[in-house]
Amino acid sequence: MNLNEQLEHISQSLTGIVPELFLAAFFLIFLIAELLLLRFGDKAHTNRRLFLITLAGAVLTLVLILGQWNSEPSFRFRPLLFLDSKAVFFKILIVLAWLFTWLHIRLLRYTFPPELSALLIAAVLGMFLLTMATHWLTVYLSLELLSISSYLLVAYSPSKKAAEGGLKYLLFGAISSAIMLYGISLIYGLTGTLDFTDPAMRLALATNSPFVLNMAMLMTLGGLLFKLSLVPFHVWTPDVYEAAPTPLVSFLSVAPKAAVLLVLMRVATSWPAELLPLLGGIALVSITVGNVTALWQQNARRLLAYSSIAQAGYLIVGVVAFNQLGFEGATFYTAAYLLLNMTAFLLVDLLQPRSETQLATYAGLGKKHPWIAVILTVVMVALAGLPPTVGFTAKWLIFSALWDSYQQAGQPWLLWLLVGGIINAAISLAYYLRLPYLLFFKSTSVTPSTPIYLVWGRVVSGLLLGAILLLFFKPELLMQWINNVSP
């Protein structure tokens, strides 16, 4: 390509990444607006205005993304980004998680500094770029953008615990980034390209011995596995979930995983098939470690942290199955997991507002707030994967995809993964039902803190319950979309 063609391609590409450009500009505008508004006007007023600005920005982003829905799948900044409807679907999920986080913050009346909204915008920008990345350079950079914003989101509050959690997050994150960079440099040395949609990469990788291949792939995936909190990059999860405020935990437990899962799908379709047993092993170990360790937890957020390690394992089972149904199942699972996990965090927070969420403090609250406690029970049942909830549909989809894949390929490790996954779903029931047990069958031991904004809390959680049940009885509402996006 000569210089003129390149410049033309750049200006074409720029018109194709409007939501990302908007978010980058919005980040700058927000910072300036914050400075100006804080200068002229009191604090409470400013906070409300800034909240409205954020909300308007988020809604506008959603509109801009919906505008991309029918665009032809094509490269932007060839070969750095690739925009298809799958990326658009995941971007919609990410914006919904963003809006849900704001709903959570407003319902529970958290007071956050305005810098936090700016950091959330930057994190969303990082995730948007991640959903389109098809080049290790863009994957790495957008992952770093996301990581740096998340470290700050965890560490922002002035308490000692937040500092500890943020530091642990930063250290583990930096180490897994370093491992990922080492892996990427190996991959570049082995193949001479960083573009993982390039067939040359697959061919060059396949000429290596399985030992070299597996080590290089494991190291390269390090940063992605860290964001998905999969074994062996999961150590940070419980401490960070315990240290950060609940709405941010709920955002960080879902949105980055959605973005990274799409990258993993893209990598899985273009890398040698040796990747799949590696991912399968990681999935099985993560599911087991997460579920077994969760049995001993005494804090609701730590419990949900170990549960999210296990759920991340289930998320990549759909990728491991490696067929049409598997990818659709994984996409469905992501959407269901987003709904369920964020609802779980919201309800846990509604029962004991802005607390440390020790499990013992939930004893007996079910009789005081029956409506919310019942919905929390349903959500826990859904996370364990039982009918009549969307959790069951999601697990059913990925397991049937895995069974299909086993019948076609006949590799015994697929069957082991299937059996292990199902046994673990049974184990997970033991700790998911602990919270409902405490809520309904124990008597109150501590004076419950006064609920705030409970009317709106009830309405919102009722709507969420409706969505969870509706998607079980009519999963085709969501599946239609997913069928459209996966060609």
Partner: protein, 173 residues
């Protein structure tokens, strides 16, 4: 000739790295890091990456290392009878020396195995321009415009976050 230069600088980098690992004085380690970074910069020059070598010198030796040394000097509270030979205290107990060394050796052997067995394919065009600066400048503004811009946003986020944390964190709480 070139090979001899390469090996001497590589030995400088690796030797200083080992010294950092084995010395018990933090200040010596910082100075050894200076030698290690210098050796790496020289290796970059030998690999034809002149711009990278200069950046390495400017950023790491000129910036980060000086910051590191200042950090050590400003945070250290030395007692009266310390000499330059007194080892720096490590606050946590070093209990896992056997497993630590064992794991590191295993990891080293694994990585060595990967590098020895790997089938490297470095098929870039032969280097014939005298300087990489022109190529870098053009590429950063054309084919690598997007990563350049992402890095810009990334640094701004880090700056905002660092300023916020530094202003709002009261260590007494």
């Amino acid at each position: 000739m070139e090979l001899a230069v390469f090996y001497s600088f590589a030995a400088l980098a690796v030797g200083s790295g080992l010294f950092i690992l084995l010395t018990r004085n933090l200040m010596y380690a910082a100075f050894a890091l200076f030698m290690a970074l210098l050796g790496v910069a020289a290796l970059f020059v030998l690999a034809g990456a002149d711009f990278l070598a200069i950046t390495q010198l400017l950023v790491y030796v000129g910036g980060i290392l000086v910051l590191l040394i200042f950090g050590i000097m400003l945070t250290r509270t030395a007692s009266e009878d310390d000499t330059s030979q007194t080892p720096n205290r490590v606050l946590i107990k070093l209990g896992r020396s056997f497993w630590g060394v064992g794991l590191s050796v295993i990891l080293f052997l694994l990585l060595l195995g990967v590098l020895v067995n790997a089938n490297f394919r470095l098929n870039g065009p032969a280097l014939n321009s005298r300087s990489t600066i022109r190529t870098l400048g053009v590429e950063l503004m054309t084919s690598h415009l997007l990563p350049f811009e992402i890095a810009g946003v990334l640094l701004l986020v880090a700056l905002v976050g660092a300023a916020y944390l530094a202003l709002n964190r009261n260590p007494s709480r």
